[in-house]
Structure formats: C-alpha cells, structure tokens
C-alpha cells in the first residue's frame, strides 16, 4: 500500500530526491488498479503499463538533468471529455467511442510539461450530463465507500479513481457541480475554478459558458498543487481571463495558513433548504467549530430559487448547439453512406450515438432556443443569471466566502436517482450557483452520515481560490479527514 494514498506534494519532493522511486510508485498504483478496478470501474480507457513506464523514464531523465518538475512522475486520471493526443477520448458516448484526438487539451500540455503522467481516461455521465455517472454509455462507476451506491457525477470516474487509490490526482470538469458532487460523494476534494482561470481548449463542450476544468485530489494541498499547474491564461481560449499570471496556490495556501486571517462567512438560508437531516447535522457540527474562530452570519437571497431552472435552461440551450457537430462525417460513430442522403446518415448516427439523457437535453435545448420560445426561456434565464451575479457580487463585498452543502443528500444507490429526473436535477441545487455566476467553489469532506461521505462547499468571488483553499484547509484541520482510504 506504500505510495498509494500518499499526497502528491510529498511524492513530488521524494521523487526529486530519489527519481527512480517513480517506478516503484507506478508499479504500486498499477497493482492497486488491478485489484480494485473491476469493483469500482473508474476508467473507460487505461493506458498500458509499458507506455506509462516509458513516459516515466523521460520524467526521471528530466529530473536527473536538474529540472524541477512540480508534478514529477505523479499519475493523473483525466476525465474522458478532456482531449488527449493519441489517447481515445469518448465523453462516455457511443458517438465518440473510437475517437482519438489529434491534439492535447491545453491542461494536458501543461501537466506533461510539469512532469505529470496521464494514467487513463475516467468514466463520466455521457457528455457530462448527469450527477451520478450512471449516464455513461458504457457502464456505471461504483462508489468506493459503498459499491452499491453512485460516486456522483458527472466526474464520477475521476473521483472514484482518486478515492480508490487508482491514481494520485485527477482532472474533472464542472458545468453545474460535476467536480464537487462526486468529490462530496467520495470524500475527496474538488475545486471548480473561477470561469476563465483554466483553459477550456480541448475540453469537449457541454455548456460553454458554464464549463470549467478543475483539480481533484484526496487533500486540499494536492488540489492547490494541481491548480497551480493548470491555471493560466491561454490564447487559444477567448474566454480565458487575460493577463493571468501563473500562481503557486500551494505556497499561497501555506502562507495563508500561517497568517490565519479571520474569515467572514455567509450562510445563505435558501441554500440549506431540502438538506437531508443527517447530512445537515454533520455540516452544522463542522461549521459550528469553524464559526467559533471565524465570523459567520446567516443571510437571505430569495432569487436563488430561480438558479436551478435557469441553469438547466442555459445548459441545455448551449448543449443543443455544442452537440450539433456529431454527425458521423468527420470523426466518431459512422454508418453506411452509400446510396443514402446526408439527412438519413446524420439521423441514424445521432439516433444510435447519443443516449437518452443527451437526446433529451438536445431536444429541450433546441426548443428553448427556437424562435418564439427563446425569449420565454433562454433570455429569461440569462436575466436570472445577471441578477444572481449582481446579488452575489454585493454579498461578496461583505463576506469572504459562502459556506453551503455540496450535496443536500447522501450518495444514492445505483438506479435510485436516475428514475426521477426532478429529484436528480434537484441534487445540483447548491452547486449550479457557482457556475451561473462564474465563481470558484471547493468541496471538502465534512464527515460521514450513516458511513456515507458528507461534504461542505465554499464559494467565493471570482479569483478567490486561495481563500477557498484556506477555508477548505481549516475544515481539514477540524475534521482531520484527508487522504482517506475507503474500506474496499
């Protein structure tokens, strides 16, 4: 078990002193994968041991030449909607089942530069549409804490892989909670960065104005470490924040931890409605301790009620557009073209290639954007979004962070949530807000209810990642819950 649950930031130090230890570490992780993957099913595509080893040799060589590599030899699981050159990228969809990108996403380039090694591509809800990873076209992923339960989603494979010790770090993507939800359900840490902080170039779009790639790990320090690597301006992404310098979030976090500033924390009343009783108990217990040292205050923002419906309107509208390109002409699932016109071919490819949830969202999105309905739905949703932004900007002038549940419920059993779409969509009530207003948000374990993970979420104003990481670290201090190993 050596290496498997070690934090990345410690391994990086070790590997700079003894580079050859990287090989032992890789052996350990691959053995772990061998023993647990059949139970958890985190990966859609796992790289071969040999090709990972070959890449590790190059990393070792670079270290021996004196290069300092902030991710030296660290294995990173990548959600299967992030493009990896030469490595199949499916979005957990039949329509991209055999698609191999000819280019690396910007985040992948940066990880490779930093000496990180992609170990495989993780399972997810098809095109990131879902909160349980059950919408994968291939198979569901199981929660390492209770294999009968879902790991959350849509980045469920990444969260499960970290939790089960099948990787050290992972990348997820978050459109309405897809990093934070599975982090919460697997007792790991996940951060959705400020919109525009991390390049989306190479992230297969679900809803472009909401999507962000973010780091996932078993502790807050590792999340800070991975965020430092991927957060920077990218000229290939026009929504990337201009003139953002690289920032060492880990150093800043350690610095802040030393200074221990007193935080002003808001608790938005509306965001605590519908929380399961035992989940709420765990959260209040932790926050009571946090509030004994920091200033906490309850506030009310009624417009928050509209966040969830507005979110789904915007997400579906953009999805219907983003997913139009999958037609079987240039890449992905194809079909016989001879003797048929293109409309038949497109229809067949899209009928066979997309799963039910994806089709549903495309259809709803197309309806939302159609002439005569656009004002009623899409334009109104944009108004809600604008008002939310204004309200929360105001709030953030008085408070450093908002504390709220990540998930109002415990991880559902497989098949339990997926049958009730309203219940399923309601799970996202506390996570969509950050995406709607472009704010960063982090989920960190708060404890267990009925032996199932419960997490607290912090949300802050744009570019307040360091403050959020600090708040999350404070929770880690209180709970001592980090680098957790589930009873697999």
């Amino acid at each position: 078990m050596k290496y498997i649950y070690e934090p990345a930031y410690k391994l990086v130090d070790l590997f700079h002193q003894e580079p050859d230890k990287i090989f032992d570490y890789i052996d350990a992780v691959f053995n772990r994968i061998k023993s647990v993957e059949s139970k958890v099913k985190s990966y859609i595509t796992l790289r071969s041991y040999d090709s990972v080893l070959k890449e590790a040799e190059e990393v070792v060589l670079r270290i021996k030449k004196g290069e300092h590599l902030p991710l030296a030899g660290i294995l990173i699981a990548v959600k299967d909607n992030i493009s990896t050159r030469g490595l199949r990228t499916t979005c957990a969809s039949r329509i991209l089942e055999n698609y191999v990108p000819p280019y690396d996403a910007t985040v992948i380039k940066m990880i490779k530069e930093a000496g990180g090694i992609v170990v495989g591509k993780t399972n997810m809800d098809e095109f990131a549409m879902g909160s349980t990873t059950e919408n994968s076209a291939f198979f569901p992923t199981h929660n390492p804490w209770d294999l009968t339960r879902v790991p959350g989603g849509s980045s469920g494979g990444s969260a499960a892989a970290i939790s089960a010790g099948e990787t050290t770090l992972a990348l997820g993507s978050d459109t309405g909670g897809s990093i934070r939800c599975p982090a919460a359900f697997t007792a790991t840490v996940g951060l959705k960065p400020t919109y525009g902080l991390v390049s989306r170039y190479g992230l297969i779009a679900y809803a472009s104005s909401l999507d962000q790639i973010g780091p996932m790990a078993r502790n807050v320090h590792d999340v800070a470490l991975l965020l430092s690597i991927i957060a920077t301006h990218d000229s290939l992404d026009s929504t990337s924040i201009p003139r953002i310098q690289r920032c060492n979030f880990l150093m800043e976090l350690l610095d802040t931890m030393k200074k221990r500033p007193r935080l002003k924390i808001a608790l938005v009343r509306e965001l605590w409605k519908g929380v399961e009783e035992d989940v709420g108990k765990v959260l209040h217990n932790v926050l009571d301790k946090l509030c004994s040292e920091h200033m906490c205050e309850e506030v009310s923002i009624p417009i928050v009620h509209y966040a969830l419906p507005a979110y789904y309107v915007i997400a579906m509208a953009e999805a219907s557009s983003n997913l139009a390109r999958y037609d079987g002409v240039r890449y992905g699932l194809s079909t016989t073209k001879e003797g048929r016109n293109w409309i038949e071919v497109f229809s067949e490819v899209r009928s066979k290639g997309f799963g039910f949830e994806v089709k549903k969202r495309i259809a709803l999105g197309a309806f939302i954007l159609s002439a005569g309905y656009q004002e009623q739905y899409y334009i109104r949703a944009l108004k809600v979004r604008r008002i939310l932004k204004v309200e929360f900007d105001k709030l953030f002038t008085k408070f450093d962070v908002i504390a709220l549940p990540t998930m109002p419920i415990k991880p559902p059993r497989l098949g339990e949530a997926i049958t009730d779409p309203i219940k399923l969509y309601s799970m996202d009530i506390d996570t969509v807000l950050a995406n709607m207003i472009g704010s960063p948000a982090v989920s960190v374990p708060a404890g267990f209810a009925n032996a199932l993970p419960v997490a607290v979420q912090f949300m802050g104003k744009p570019l307040s990642e360091t403050t959020l990481l600090y708040a999350a670290s404070l929770i880690e201090e209180i709970t001592k819950l980090h680098d957790l190993k589930p009873p697999l």
Partner: protein, 484 residues
Amino acid sequence: MAESGVKIGLEIHVQLTALKSKLFCSCPTDYRGKPPNTNICPVCLGLPGVLPVVNRKAIEYAIMVALALNCKLSNKVVFVRKHYFYPDLPKNYQISQYDGIGSTPLCRDGYLQIRVNGKNKVVRIRRINIEEDPGRLTYPTGDIATSRYSLVDYNRSGIALLEIVTEPDIHTPQEARAFLTKLVSILEHLGITDISLEGAFRVDANISIGGGGRVEVKNIGSIKDVERALSYEILRQRSIVAKGGVVKRETRHWDSSKRITVSLRVKETEEDYRYFPDPDLPPITISDELVKQVMERMPELPDHRIKRFMKQYGLDEYRATVLVMEKWLADLFESVAKLYSNYKRIADLLITDFMRWVNEFRLTPRDVKATPQVLAKLLRLLDQGVISIKIVKEILPEIISKGVDPEDYIKKKRLTRIADEEYLRNIVREIIHKNRKAALDALTNPRAINYLIGMVMKQTRGRADPSITAKLVREELARLKEEK
C-alpha cells in the same frame, strides 16, 4: 429605366482574401488549388473541444468596409451561432452575426451612391456581418442534381467572409450591376479582397415583382451573372404573371452554364436558425480609438479618386469613372502616367482597345502581362510616328497576353511605319500604273483618291505613313494630269 414593381435586394458574400489566416484559426487563406482537406486544423474542422479565436485583422477590415459604406457601427462585435445541419458545415452551426436580442450586426443603415444612365441613385445598406465560410461539397460524377455521391473539402472552412445586405432599393439588372461594380471597386481600393479569385465573391439576389412571392437566387458568382440572372428572373416571373399565375416564394439556383435559374426549394416559413450569442467568443468592444486608427489607415476611395483623376490628369468624368471602377486599371493608368504624359491618350487606350482584349481573352488582372513601361513605350512610338494607330491595335493583344516589347515586335515583323518618300513614291507610281482607270477617275473625283491610298496601304500592309502617302498620291496624280 426603372421597371415598374420590380424590387431587388442583394446579399453579397465577399471573402477577405487579403487576410493571411482564417477567421478563427491560424490556417492559411490560400486554399485554392491545394489537395482536398490539406488546409485544415482541429479548429476549422470543428473537432470536439476546440475553440475559436477571432482574427483581429478581420475586424479591422470589416470596420473599414462599414465606414466606406457610410454605415452606423455597432459598439461591439458580437458573434452568434447560426444553426443548420449540412455536411459542409463542420460544427453544424456557422459562427456569424445577427440582428436580435443580445446580438447585433457589425453595422447597420449605410448607403452607397451609384450612377446609372447619368443619374445618381442611392442604394441603402441594411447591415454587414462578419462570418465564417463553410467547406465545399464537390460532385465527382456530375453536378448537384445528377452526381451519384458528393465529397466534402474543408480547405475553405473558416475563411473570413463579409455578408453585405442591401435594402430592396434596386429596380433593374443594370442598377444591380452598377451597384456591384462600385461596391467591388470600393472593396478593392480598401485592399481587402481580390474578387478575381474563384469563389471570393458570391451574390444571392432577392427579387419580387409587383407584390409576387420573393424569389431568392443563390450563389451567383460574378457581376455579369447577377445581371443575367436578374434579367432571366424578371422574364420568368413576368411570364408567370402574364399567364395568370402567381409567383411562389422560393429559393432558386443560378446555373451559370445554361444561364437559367432552377428551383431548389419552396419556402413556406422562415427557417429557424436558433441564433444565440456564441459563448466561446466574448463580445469585442469597438473603441473610438480603434475606429480612429482604422480611419487613419483608410486608403483613397473610388469617389475621391475619380475627382482626383479629373483634376490631376485632366480627364473627363466618364473616363475617370471607367478607370476607377476597375481598380487595377486605375492603378495601371497611374503607373503609365508616371512615364508618359498624354494622359487622355493613356485613358483612351486603356478603356477601349486594351479592355476589349482583356475581356476577349477573359483575363484576370493577374494574367495581364502588359507592364506600364511597355504601354508607355507603345504610346511614345505612336507619338514619334514610328508606328501607326493601326499597328498599335495590332500589337496590343500581344502585349496584353504575352508582354512582348513593341520595339522587338515591330522589328521582327517589320511593322515600322514607312516614311521613306523615295520608296513610297515607287509604290504609288506602280499603283497608279496598274490602276490607270481609277487614277484617271481620281482626277475628277476626290473620293477615288482614297481608293488609291487604300491600295498603297494594302501593299505595305498598313505600314505606309498615311499623310506622306496622301501627299505622294496627289503629286503623282498632278503629274498624270500634266502628262495628259
């Protein structure tokens, strides 16, 4: 003459061929002639996960056009997605611009003044959009209607296009031609497009007659064809009405080889493109400073150039206009004018015989081999009497198509004018001798003199100096009279 009830509106698509790269990626713009699907990258192929980045130069060019067409600029550039499924469209949406809630075209409400049959006319510009060109379908075993299969070439995908939309202010095919000629001249003076490149200039024409259905004729590739297509449509629609029929609202295709329009589809409702602002492209502010910078860099425009030609070269409005409407011709004129100072003579040469041969050979400006030096030399040889105007006309096609030097040519072909009196006198005597009857006739009938001169010209293959020849013929006739 305005044809009663005819309303024509044009949608002009112009590629910004002066750009080095495509509108949203760094692929080069010189896709023509390249093997299919070799001028592509993940972005213009719409691969999963790619993002567009706006070519800023394209926006500057578009602002130039907006200013040149007297449009009201928007304060920001907003790109929208226009959705329709088609195999040549890699994302199945086109990044374009739109006039709607939360979006705006680049500019609106412009106008262009044109001159038709000596009268001024204003054609209003409704809006100008910046958008990306789709790829191209090719039909290996026939055409759009007959080919058994089609192939897609994405080399063109993502090339920057301007879509210029007029109000339905045009009433005749001639007005359409005048409008397009001036528009193209403006675009060429701005240096942003070369419409002689295949596919760089495409027009969709909307035409209705007297309240009939609006017919859209798609994809007309040249100004001449716009005129032809409109004339055809007016005839077609008139004959339907004459037979008591009703013109349906439909989309038609211009078949440039058969020179007819063919029905593509009947339009019953407005297509729903589900426009919405592209979330991958945040709006770009058009600052006053940017507009000022663009204005400062604006080159001379046709209207100004026509006036300058009149003033600087003493040309009349007609000659100046004809030259300036073809920018390359105006440029050639000015280059020759630096070397040769009888400006009117340059203008006459260029707008008559020169252009006649260019059109005859169907040459694009790029293919014209005549250099300013050669043309200046040609005119000087004419002035010096070394060659006659007839010879000028004979050499001109050789100069235009092959770039021959007139001096070499006349030496080789012995085309220099014959001014040698001794030599010519012998020929004149010979002619009079052979045509005794005509010569005697000429003594009383001055008209017959011309016949004799013509015979001399024929014998010398046009090289005899006409005035010397005439003088010699008269002298010899006088001698004949004395002898008599």
